[in-house]
Symmetry: C2
């Protein structure tokens, strides 16, 4: 079934980029529908404390920021629907979206589905998902008070979240496949925790298997790259921070151009190769995976969407 | 005199773009000095209520937002110096800045000087500046309670600020050189005020002179484009909203490339044609004159500055 109604703009996703865009579009009386298949507020909503979102001198809890963004968008009339968009295609001058609520028509579309946590793909990872294997320290760290943890990864997130998890865990083994790639200040802070005996860093160490007993994780099996030796790390839980995966599977049958890692390509007006389809935030190739950047791009995308709908460039 | 100290980054300006960038750079232990010749917080600081900066569901006063941004940057160690940068040039691999505090050296520079209000350039405009002629309704509107005003301009700002000024003024004559170029929703709201007799819109009307008596404005003289007839508009004050002027005069002797209206050109990494010199916010060609966009670009610029200083691209 296809709705006969033509929406001004349908936004795919309801994270910071889409919510910021929706504040702008709805304030300008552009009718705006957002589709969210997961959590309103996106990754911001599952972040403990956001220290660097400009405007909050002492930081703000991710969940509070997400709620603020939602309220602000809804205040001006944004409608958020829980459901999933499964394809986007041109339909004459309009865009047809296949969704879990049926087909829908829109004059413009904003793709703002963000990116998800990457998995390492080892035995036990799926089996113990959310009951021993985690990707969000804020959400699940507190379950490991006075427990022993393994963290997998060597980038900024892995180090930052390891530092955070020392609030709870008695000890953390940090398994780094090659070398640490975290920023200097993070490595400096990490060293303090190493010196304090809270974290042990294992460089050049592969993660091979997450092993459980009686329905809970008991250890992680790794390999020392140099010697090829197996090493066992006793652990009550595992946190994996090995990067992000763009949420663009739903575009695989569309004509929308993606880059080599699956992010949506746009021009500097944030428009994709399909006219009327825009992208903003963590899902956009060239974005920087920051909430500030996502909301900034959301604002810009909204202005471009208005121009597209009005059929001309704004002047002021 | 040239300081021998080499700064990690000198930011020219301390508006939302620079302050957001400074939050990011200082959190990463990048030593950061900001130069501000006017008001910390830039145009945000002289904006009444900011309704569309993402994260504040009921809006936030511009001055409060500016203060928040300043506090957040200073919390992590940003240093703000009052003074002016008068030129930027390459000095080997470094950058030399001529400033009112002497010459300074930096590894990187962020240009974030924003844009200023444009003047109309008619007799009386300069003479009655700030005592009858104004460019900021928030700052000076309250002086015109129960007074009669003229507003000059036809874009979004002119209409938006006219609507705001009806809080104070008994009547507003809006002089529009050609046609209204404001958004539909603004024109809709304007019509309500026209119907209520609060605002009279004069299309195709040139503004020729601001006339005063005894040290205060008494009228504005305009011309009806069609008939060529002079028209007099009695007024206690005049507000001018005819656009923005990029603050890039200080770059006129530099090699930094500007666009046709004087905005700084950058690539998608926000780097100018001079390596190590970046630009963000209202002064950047392609930016959208929104606080959200400025802070987003500030964050992005900071990440690019870090990469430049580290000599490689970040991965996570």
């Amino acid at each position: 079934m296809t709705e006969t109604k033509v929406h001004d703009v349908i936004m795919v996703g309801a994270g910071p980029a889409a919510l910021a865009a929706a504040v702008y579009t709805t304030r300008e009386d552009i009718e705006t529908l957002l589709f969210e298949r997961g959590v309103v507020g996106g990754l911001a909503a599952v972040t403990d404390m956001v220290d660097n979102y400009p405007g909050f001198p002492d930081g703000i809890e991710g969940l509070t920021l997400a709620e603020n963004l939602r309220k602000q968008a809804e205040r001006f009339g944004a409608v958020i629907e829980l459901g999933e968009v499964t394809n986007i295609a041109k339909e004459g001058k309009l865009l047809k979206l296949e969704t879990t609520s049926g087909d829908m028509l829109a004059k413009t579309v904003l793709i703002a589905t963000g990116s998800d946590y990457k998995k390492i793909g080892v035995p036990g990872e799926q089996e113990y998902y959310a009951r021993g294997v985690h990707y969000c320290a804020t959400c699940d760290g507190a379950f490991y008070r006075d427990k022993r943890l393994v963290v997998v990864g060597g980038g900024n997130s892995a180090v930052q979240e390891s530092l955070f998890l020392t609030r709870y865990a008695t000890h953390i083994d940090l398994l780094v496949r090659s070398e640490l790639r975290a920023s200097e200040v993070l490595q400096h802070d990490l060293q303090k925790m190493v010196d304090a005996g809270k974290i042990t860093v294992h460089l050049q160490t592969a993660t091979n298997e997450i092993v459980g007993e009686d329905n809970h994780v008991v250890k992680v099996v790794g390999t020392d790259n140099a010697s090829g030796k197996k090493i066992e790390f006793p652990a009550d839980g595992v946190f994996v921070f090995v990067g992000l995966k763009p949420n663009t599977e739903f575009l695989k049958n569309s004509a929308i151009e993606l880059d080599e890692i699956g992010l949506v390509k746009t021009n500097e007006d944030l428009e994709t190769n399909i006219t009327g389809v825009f992208a903003a935030g963590d899902v956009r190739s060239g974005s920087t995976m920051q909430i500030a950047t996502a909301t900034g791009e959301g604002a810009t995308a909204a202005l471009r969407i208005r121009e597209y709908l009005e059929g001309h460039k704004q002047t002021s």
